[in-house]
Subunit: 364 residues, 2 copies
C-alpha cells in the first residue's frame, strides 16, 4: 500500500484554531491518504510558549500530547519530545523546503520575517493570521503577489470569500461594489436592536454567550472588520493602507482608555442612538447592518441602511454574508452566506487551503 | 514593456458562450497583461462548422471577424484566415503542449477524444461543456482526476459551486446534504406557480421571455439539472452513473415522442397538479422548489418542499442557490446564490478557470 505523498507542515500557533487543525489532521489521516494520496508530516509546532521541532515528523501520539498540554495551559517548550527552538524564523530556516507548508494560525505580527524567509525558500504558505496581510504595503504586498500562498480563512472563516474575489478579479469583469457583514458578533447585535432590544443589553447578552471578545471593544471598534475589508480590497489589487479604511466605531473614542467595567456600565448611553437608527431604517423600509463596503477603490466600515428585501437585509443572527455586485451580477448580486467564525470551521478552511496548494499545481 | 507570458488557447465551440468569451479575451487584453502578465494567444477556433487554426495566434481583428461571421450564421471553415482542420482531435494533436489551454464550450460529446489527447499532452483543460463530465465513469473519471482541469461553469455558471464542493471535500469534514436550485427556468416556474399563476401559463410566459430552451421539454424533463447534480456528486468522489440519478420529469414520459405543439397545447393538463402541490406546501408552511438533492451517496432531482424560512424557501425568480449542510455548516448551511446562467457570466467563469490554472501553479 502506498504511504502517500509526504507533505511537511510547519505549524505556527497552537491556540483554539491550531488545536482543532491538529486534531483534524490526525482524525482525517486515512481520508487524506486514501482520497488524495497525501500524508501530512508535522515537522514543527511553535507558538509564544516555545516549539517542538521534529524533522522526522511528530507521531500522532505526540501531536495529541501537544494538543492536550496546550488545552491545559501548558507550554510547548515543556513537551518531552522534539527539540526546543526559540524563534520561528530559525525553524523555517532549518526545516522549510519547496515542499513544506508553513501554516500561520497565530494572531501575531512576529511571524512576518519567518514568512518572508518561507517565500525565499518557495515554500507554500497558508495564513489564518490577518496581521501579516494588513501590515503596511511595503511589507505585505509581497504576500499578495506570492502564488504559493492562501489565506481564505482570514475573511469569513471557511466561506469562499477570497476565492470568489480572486475569481471575479481574474475574469476582469468590473466589480462595482462588495458589501459584507463580516462579524458574527455585530450581526447578532444588529438583529437584536432591530428586534427592539436595547443596545447595551444586547452587548451584555452577547458577552454572556461568548459571542464577543473578552473585551467587547475589540468587536465594537470595527477594527477586526476593517482588517477583513482591507484584505478583501488588497485581494482585488487595491493598494490601500490600513489608515485608508474609514471605520465607524460603535463607541466614543475616549472610551478606549477607560477600564473595561466603566465601558460596560456606560454602554447604556448608546441605547438611544440605536433606537433612533432602527426607527429611521424602519421608516425607509430598510435594515440596520454593520458592513464593510468596497466601492470605487474605497473601503468603508460601519453602520449602513440596506433594503429589507436584499440578501443583507434578510440576514439575521451571527452568520456572515457577502454580496458581490459586478458587471454580470447585476442587478442581483452573487451572494455567499454562512458561519463566518469558529475554530473548527476555520481549521477546516486552513486544511482546504493546504490541499488546494499542494494538490492542484502538482503534476504526477 | 513586457509582452507578458504567452498562453496558447485552443477554443472549441463558438456559440453564444464562445463568442462572449472571445470578445472578453480581446476587450480585457490589457487588463490581463497588466494585472497578471498573461497574454492569451488563440491558436485555434473550432466548432461543428469547421475550424480556423493559426499557430502564430489569431490577431484581434481576425477574432472579431470570426465572432461576427458566427453571429451571422456563417461557418468557421469559410473564414479567410487560418487553415481548415476538420477534426478537433487533430487540432489538439498539432497544437497542444503543456502550456496550452484547451477550452471546451461546445455542448457536444464529440470532443471527448480531443480531451483525452490533451490530458496525455499534460495540457490545461477548461470545460463549460457538461457532456464529457456526465459520460460513463469508464471514460469520464479520468477528467475528474486530472489536476490541470477546471469545470466551474458546468454547475451554476460562474457561481463557485464546484470550487466550494472541492474545498469542503478537501478538508475532509463530512458533507451531510447539498440542496440546489440549479435551473433558472425551473426557479422562475416555481415562483410563478407559488404566486398563483397556472403552470401552463407560466411555461408559455417563460418561453416568451426566452427563459426556456426552444423546446421547453429540455428544461421540464429535469435532465439538465440531473447532469449538474451528477457532476457535483462526482466532484465529491461519488462514483455514480447518470442512470443512478433519480429524476422527476415535470411532464408524462409519453410526451417525449409528441410534436412540440401538442405538448404546448396539453400543458394545461398539468395545472391542477401544481395548484395542489402549492396548496399542500402552503399548508405545511413550506415552499415548492425543483431541486437537486445530494445525500447519503444518492442524487435526487425533482419537486421538493422546503421550509419557507430557509435560504431555498426565500429564493425567488431565476437565480440559482445552493445550500451545503456539513459537519461545521450546521444547522445553518453554507449558501451560494446568484445568476446561474447567461452567456456573459459563463464566459467570465471560463476565464476565471483559465487564470486559476495558468497562474497559481506557476512558479516564476
Amino acid at each position: 500500500m502506498s504511504e502517500g505523498r509526504e507533505v511537511p507542515l510547519i505549524v505556527l500557533g497552537v491556540g483554539g484554531v491550531g488545536r482543532s487543525f491538529l486534531e483534524q489532521i490526525v482524525r482525517r489521516r486515512s481520508y487524506h491518504e486514501k482520497r488524495y494520496d497525501v500524508r501530512f508530516k508535522i515537522v514543527a509546532l511553535a507558538d509564544s510558549t516555545g516549539a517542538a521541532v521534529s524533522p522526522a515528523g511528530l507521531t500522532d501520539e505526540e501531536i495529541q500530547q501537544a494538543i492536550e498540554a496546550k488545552a491545559q495551559g501548558g507550554r510547548l517548550s515543556d513537551l518531552p519530545f522534539g527539540y526546543y527552538q526559540n524563534d520561528v524564523r530559525s525553524i523555517v530556516d532549518l526545516e522549510a523546503t519547496q515542499d513544506t507548508v508553513v501554516v500561520d494560525m497565530t494572531a501575531s505580527t512576529e511571524t512576518m520575517s519567518a514568512l518572508q524567509l518561507a517565500m525565499e525558500r518557495r515554500s507554500y504558505i497558508v495564513l489564518a493570521n490577518k496581521l501579516p496581510l494588513t501590515a503596511p504595503i511595503s511589507r505585505a504586498w509581497a504576500l499578495y503577489e506570492y502564488p504559493r500562498l492562501r489565506y481564505e480563512t482570514t475573511v469569513g472563516a471557511a466561506l469562499p470569500v477570497i476565492t470568489t474575489a480572486k475569481r471575479l478579479a481574474a475574469s476582469g469583469e468590473s466589480i462595482q461594489r462588495i458589501m459584507g457583514v463580516l462579524s458574527g458578533t455585530l450581526g447578532y447585535l444588529m438583529t437584536a436592536v432591530e428586534d427592539g432590544v436595547a443596545f447595551s443589553k444586547a452587548v451584555l447578552k452577547a458577552k454572556e454567550l461568548g459571542y464577543t471578545e473578552p473585551d467587547p471593544r475589540e468587536d465594537l471598534s470595527g477594527r477586526d472588520v476593517a482588517r477583513k475589508g482591507l484584505i478583501l480590497a488588497r485581494t482585488l489589487g487595491w493598494r490601500l493602507e490600513m489608515e485608508d479604511v474609514q471605520v465607524q466605531s460603535l463607541y466614543p473614542e475616549e472610551w478606549d482608555t477607560w477600564p473595561l467595567e466603566d465601558v460596560m456600565a456606560e454602554l447604556i448611553a448608546l441605547d438611544d442612538d440605536f433606537f433612533a437608527w432602527v426607527d429611521a431604517a424602519r421608516a425607509r423600509h430598510e435594515a440596520l447592518r454593520y458592513v464593510a463596503k468596497l466601492e470605487d477603490g474605497r473601503v468603508e466600515v460601519g453602520i449602513q441602511f440596506v433594503p429589507l428585501d436584499s440578501p443583507l437585509g434578510r440576514l439575521r443572527g451571527t452568520d456572515n454574508l457577502v454580496e458581490f455586485y459586478t458587471e454580470y451580477y447585476d442587478p442581483q448580486p452573487l451572494v455567499l452566506a454562512g458561519r463566518g467564525a469558529g475554530v473548527h470551521s476555520t481549521a477546516a478552511g486552513v486544511l482546504s487551503d493546504i490541499l488546494e496548494l499542494v494538490l492542484y499545481p502538482w503534476l504526477p
